[in-house]
Subunit: 187 residues, 2 copies
């Protein structure tokens, strides 16, 4: 049960949580409204459809990640920013092994030809890739190289997260993150 804030905000928070833990399809509006302390039918006063609520969830996640990147940009050097990105997966290892990546799982579920939600979720990956690319460029790589390194790093972390969940093993993720960190430190 999400308390405080206006109802629209509470609905988005509750949806964010339930969609992450149960997946989009399994997160029913009844559950979401219940968790937000809002009557079921009233959801439609704030959101036209379930999809538009999901869209708000995706936008919220995007803002949270953007804030984190901005914070790192202000306080860390490029190499430590990338290491911080990897450490983020390690810190969240429990949730990641249980429910997957908040972006990756969503993309996997919503990606259907012509689905706007799938494209919106994919955009979150693009923003991380752009930011990672900038860090690798700052570390002296060409733009082309930086793009490839970013894709490689994100790929291995996404894959490790997926495997950690599939095999129900936190270690799978922690080990691969350690290898990725060692690689970054060797650059």
């Amino acid at each position: 049960m999400v308390a405080g804030g206006d109802k629209r905000t509470r609905l988005v928070q509750a949806a964010d949580d339930l969609v992450y833990r149960n997946g989009y399809a399994s997160a029913t509006l009844a559950d979401i409204a219940g968790a937000a302390g809002v009557p079921v039918g009233n959801v439609y006063y704030y959101f036209r459809t379930k999809e538009s609520l999901a869209s708000a969830v995706i936008a919220t996640r995007g803002r949270v990640y953007a804030a984190r990147r901005d914070d790192w940009d202000r306080t860390l050097q490029p190499r430590d920013r990338v290491l911080g990105f990897i450490a983020m997966s390690v810190d969240a290892r429990r949730d990641l092994a249980l429910s997957g990546c908040p972006i990756g799982s969503l993309c996997s579920e919503l990606q259907k030809p012509g689905s706007p939600l799938g494209a919106e979720a994919g955009q979150l990956f693009c923003e991380w890739l752009d930011w990672l690319g900038a860090q690798f460029e700052a570390l002296g790589h060409s733009r082309r190289d930086a793009g490839a390194q970013s894709l490689h790093l994100l790929s291995r972390l996404q894959g490790a997260t997926l495997l950690a969940r599939a095999l129900r093993s936190v270690d799978v993720l922690v080990d691969e993150a350690a290898r990725a960190s060692a690689w970054i430190e060797s650059l």
Copy 2:
């Protein structure tokens, strides 16, 4: 429409195809039965529940992969077996970028605490990891190292597949597979 074979087999084939392309939840029994040319209600003569049909699909995929590994074991050397594994992703790049990995997507969707289907799907990953580990051992790595290398290789390919789908770009997968192949050849 799947033709030929007994009805049970046709149902599994149709389910395999539709679950892969649409996901488990979206693949309705009506669609599956329709594609198999079997009356809807009749599905329950062959399978107790939708879950047991999914279980048969997972078992079928497992047998297909096992046959492929056996074939490579008979015809290729360890290094070429691993390269063949990577090439499998490149060959299937279109489908992978469109619908994801037949194992990974399933694990992502079905992995819920206490779900038997999630564990069955995860088992398919275990079988590939065991086989990959044997190849790395044959290439001279310790058992411990071989396990880590296997997880790393599978992680990056799974992640690249996920990203290729999310970004709707075949290149993401092809590029990462090329880097992985170069790594194997350098061992």
